[in-house]
Symmetry: D2
Amino acid sequence: MNETLVTVVGNVATTPVFRELASGPVSRFRLAVTSRYYDAVQKVWADGHTNFFTVWARRSLGTNVQASLTIGEPVVVQGRLKVRDEERGGQHWTSADIDATTVGHDLSRGTAAFRRVLKANPALTDPASAREAEPEPVG
Amino acid sequence: MNETLVTVVGNVATTPVFRELASGPVSRFRLAVTSRYYDAVQKVWADGHTNFFTVWARRSLGTNVQASLTIGEPVVVQGRLKVRDEERGGQHWTSADIDATTVGHDLSRGTAAFRRVLKANPALTDPASAREAEPEPVG
Amino acid sequence: MNETLVTVVGNVATTPVFRELASGPVSRFRLAVTSRYYDAVQKVWADGHTNFFTVWARRSLGTNVQASLTIGEPVVVQGRLKVRDEERGGQHWTSADIDATTVGHDLSRGTAAFRRVLKANPALTDPASAREAEPEPVG
Amino acid sequence: MNETLVTVVGNVATTPVFRELASGPVSRFRLAVTSRYYDAVQKVWADGHTNFFTVWARRSLGTNVQASLTIGEPVVVQGRLKVRDEERGGQHWTSADIDATTVGHDLSRGTAAFRRVLKANPALTDPASAREAEPEPVG
């Protein structure tokens, strides 16, 4: 409840890194989300501000993200936003993570061939792992 | 302004139908979005209500959707919701359409191989077809 | 999971109707959400399509909505969208409901004086009533 | 285009600060958004992670926010998320801002009395200040 759900459309900015954790597989990557605006003076579209997020994909989604995404590809990501403020060595430090519920290639930029993975998705059967899972600390 | 943006995760329920219109290519399909809930008595996840939407994909997105999606595939769709009420022959009739801004395969259910389409995207260069203006700079 | 969350900004189109159900208090009203667009030819902003929703507010939210909202007031509503298709007497009939998680006056249109209600919110303590509650049938 | 829209429900964490800028009035405040989760072991709802945002309300919304919000009040905020990374004195520094499109009191926590402000809203008449263009008609 009161979670901050976001849907963002952007580009994979770092090669996804895969790890097998006690809680299951996880893949993470940086995502660059650049807004576009129409410059009424120049009469052209131009890039606006870029938001960067660290996306965490877990369990089946993590395995499939690792098998599917390459740096530079355009994607749509939906998930829970976590903004973290930390003090480290007296320094204020913040990160913006998205704990992804889904990731897909952005078909406005190209085509994709899909192959269903048939093994059971633990997220659908294990209530303890679904919906409220806390992301592991960033390693 | 005041548009109803939605992001939905569901399954392609009808084979996408493609047409070339004066305004460009368009592909449309029905999408079934079934909520899942945890049945605390049976201690299992179960299907809840299913929302059906007619998804409209236009221009590059329409062409790529037509080339990429097959009935039954799991997808994530972001777009503007339009609920339409009509009177036809004295009958009240309503539909729920989504004018898609992006569509992608849901990687929590499988893997996807992406191929970028290199031709220019009219949506990025033609202001008449674009969706959003830029907010003013923060003072 | 896979719920269709929406946030809409519009106007209260019917006087909220309050009922005490076995599951608790509920207030419902019609909401009109009119998109605005810039007419580049006339160089003015104009009304676009209007979405109508039936908003359901339950428990504390229902009680407070009933005490706070008047027809015509501008509001922001967040909740779960339910599109219903029905056959009645051979007729296809559809409605678009929002099971609200929150409702508030839209402060871009005016000011509001808030008074906190101190009694416990069952939604925060009773898991069975939270998050996945099915709306009662429309009476 | 490609903006990161969010809707968050939380509490006003700092007294709103008002300024008159060349671009118009602006009010800003910190917002605390605490997720809630059901602890299946303790069988109680508990607080999860808290996201902090700096909310910016501009023009009419800024004026009305300043006149309406008090520290501690529960609100719903919709707007564009901006995550900013900066280097200052060799330090990495990030903030998470929301450029609000609307703000309202959360009626699940209390009641509110609304008073419409009748003066023209520049956002509705000045195209330079507006956020979104209209999609093309459906073909």
